[in-house]
């Protein structure tokens, strides 16, 4: 499949997605609207209960600190138990809505993109792949993820899932990485490490990834000025870096970054596999929306991210297997 065909295919299938949305998804979402509204309105209820709880506590402290009225203490206890019970109901309703959304909305969209792929909403890419990529910070304190996709695109096996890597510092949660993580079989053998990192200086993008250039090897200057504006290359073997990152590959990487505008894209090459981390500020890219009904725009954004896997494989031309690696 030629390079531009993937983008063309994405546009064509978007027409089918639109029809699916109007004819299947909207009615299905309407039928389960009660679940979604229950989950969001009960949350409002819990918020109100929490406000009452705090207010009564403040009132006791200021009005009668020596002899707090018994009935207020009893009321607060009952309120706590009640809120606990309601919170449990919210979790159950959310889980049900999420299961429905994954099975009836997301799964058909994945099938539309490629019906051979496996989709596991509760699973994520295995930790050892994150560690091997060396893209996501040197500390793996709290890794969470989901919406695992795996399968083949032509001759290339791949996996992709959402990923969040956080740690706690001074009672705050610091996010090291949040976005999509992809890895696939590369079409050449190589032994050393090469990184292609978003060029923060030239693209005005905020640095959302922790990357230690001191262990990444030497900075390798490439010949394509546009590529150098978007990326910086580091490698423990500059000749191998040029073996991997051919002029055609540079064009492909520019193509990926243009297809997903304003997103930080980073690549890593190790052990004959390519790893790609795409940072996104949204907490959960594929989560069922609770506070609003799903719009076509939100659905298209999810569909577009599911297509990322094909875009990467085709832009990097990973299915061309004319060298010693089959």
């Amino acid at each position: 499949m030629a390079r531009s065909n993937v983008i063309q295919e994405r546009k064509e299938k978007a027409e089918i997605l639109k029809q699916l949305y109007e004819q299947k998804f909207k009615p299905a979402l309407q039928r389960r609207e009660d679940l979604r509204k229950d989950a969001s309105s009960l949350e409002n209820f819990v918020t109100l209960g929490f406000i009452l709880f705090i207010s009564s506590g403040i009132a006791v402290v200021y009005l009668k600190p020596e002899n707090p009225p018994i009935f207020i203490i009893v009321m607060d206890l009952v309120l706590m138990l009640f809120m606990g019970w309601v919170s449990n109901i919210i979790l159950i309703r959310r889980a049900k809505y999420s299961d429905f959304f994954n099975a009836k909305i997301l799964k058909p969209v994945v099938t539309l993109v490629d019906d051979t792929w496996k989709f596991e909403p509760e699973a994520h890419v295995a930790l050892h792949h994150y560690i091997k990529s060396n893209l996501l910070g040197l500390e793996y304190i709290n890794i969470q993820g989901g919406y695992l996709l795996k399968g083949y695109i032509g001759k290339t096996d791949f996996e992709c899932s959402t990923l969040t890597n956080t740690y706690h510092q001074d009672k705050k949660t610091v996010t090291i990485f949040n976005g999509l993580f992809f890895h696939a079989d590369f079409h050449k053998h190589f032994k050393h490490r090469t990184y292609v990192i978003c060029n923060y200086e030239n693209t005005n993008k905020a640095k959302n990834i922790i990357f230690s250039s001191s262990i990444a090897g030497d900075l390798v200057q490439m010949e394509n000025p546009e590529f150098n504006r978007h990326f910086k290359v580091y490698s423990t073997n500059p000749q191998e870096a040029r073996y991997i990152i051919t002029p055609k590959m540079m064009e492909g990487m520019i193509g990926v970054t243009k297809a997903y505008r304003n997103l930080e894209v980073h690549f890593s090459f190790y052990g004959s596999r390519v790893y790609c981390a795409i940072h996104h500020s949204k907490a959960d890219l594929f989560e069922a929306p609770i506070y609003d009904s799903l719009s076509y725009r939100d659905l298209y954004a999810m569909y577009s991210f599911l297509y990322l896997n094909k875009v990467i494989v085709e832009e990097l031309d990973l299915n061309t297997r004319i060298w010693t690696k089959e």
């Binding site: 050449k188 390798v220 200057q221 010949e223 500059p238 000749q239 191998e240 040029r242 073996y243 051919t246 004319i322 060298w323 010693t324």
Partner: protein, 190 residues
């Protein structure tokens, strides 16, 4: 200013100048060595390609009865290009002609479906593609090293020291044969 202070200032300035001189000298030497290293890298990859040519000739000659002239040319080029006394420019030109000849052989294989389908030929073709990809990477590395070296010896104040050391600009690798520079017209190949 007291004489002792003047001597002190001159001594410190001399030390700083000496450190800078040593730093620049070492930097230029490192750049020159890097170019030599990169050139060695190209030769290593070219050697791997040379080693594949006898296998290619042996495999195709039993099928390609009408291309004996082309195969003889290929064998002759291989022995010429491995001559030790060749200058770099002559070696580059011969390697380019060798690349063209290998290309012609591989295109001619299209006329021999049995050969094209044979597993041995497919594997050999992959090995040749691999060799070409590695040669291309090595040449790009060499060009990057030469560019860095040329920048180092031509910019001020390095150019003063470079002239004293007898260092001169080097040429990047570029195609010398006109055939490779032309856009390939597919029809002309068949």
């Amino acid at each position: 200013m007291e004489p002792i202070n003047i001597i002190g200032v001159i001594a410190i300035a001399s030390i700083i100048f000496l450190i800078a001189f040593i730093g620049l000298y070492n930097h230029l030497i490192r750049q020159r060595n890097q170019v030599q290293n990169a050139l060695g890298g190209v030769d290593v990859q070219l050697k791997k390609r040379y080693d594949l040519i006898p296998n290619l000739v042996a495999l195709v000659k039993q099928y390609m009865q009408h291309e004996q002239g082309l195969l003889q040319q290929l064998t002759m080029l291989r022995s010429q290009v491995t001559t030790p006394q060749l200058k770099n420019s002559e070696k580059n030109t011969l390697n380019e002609v060798l690349s063209e000849s290998i290309g012609k052989v591989l295109v001619s294989v299209e006329n021999y479906p049995q050969l094209k389908a044979s597993q041995s030929f497919v594997q050999l073709q992959r090995s040749l593609n691999e060799a070409e990809a590695q040669i291309s990477a090595a040449r790009r590395t060499y060009n990057a090293s030469v560019t860095e070296y040329n920048n180092a010896i031509q910019t001020f104040p390095n150019n003063i020291l470079a002239k004293m050391m007898g260092l001169s600009s080097k040429e990047v690798f570029r195609t010398t044969t006109s055939a490779e520079r032309q856009n390939i017209h597919i029809q002309r190949l068949f």
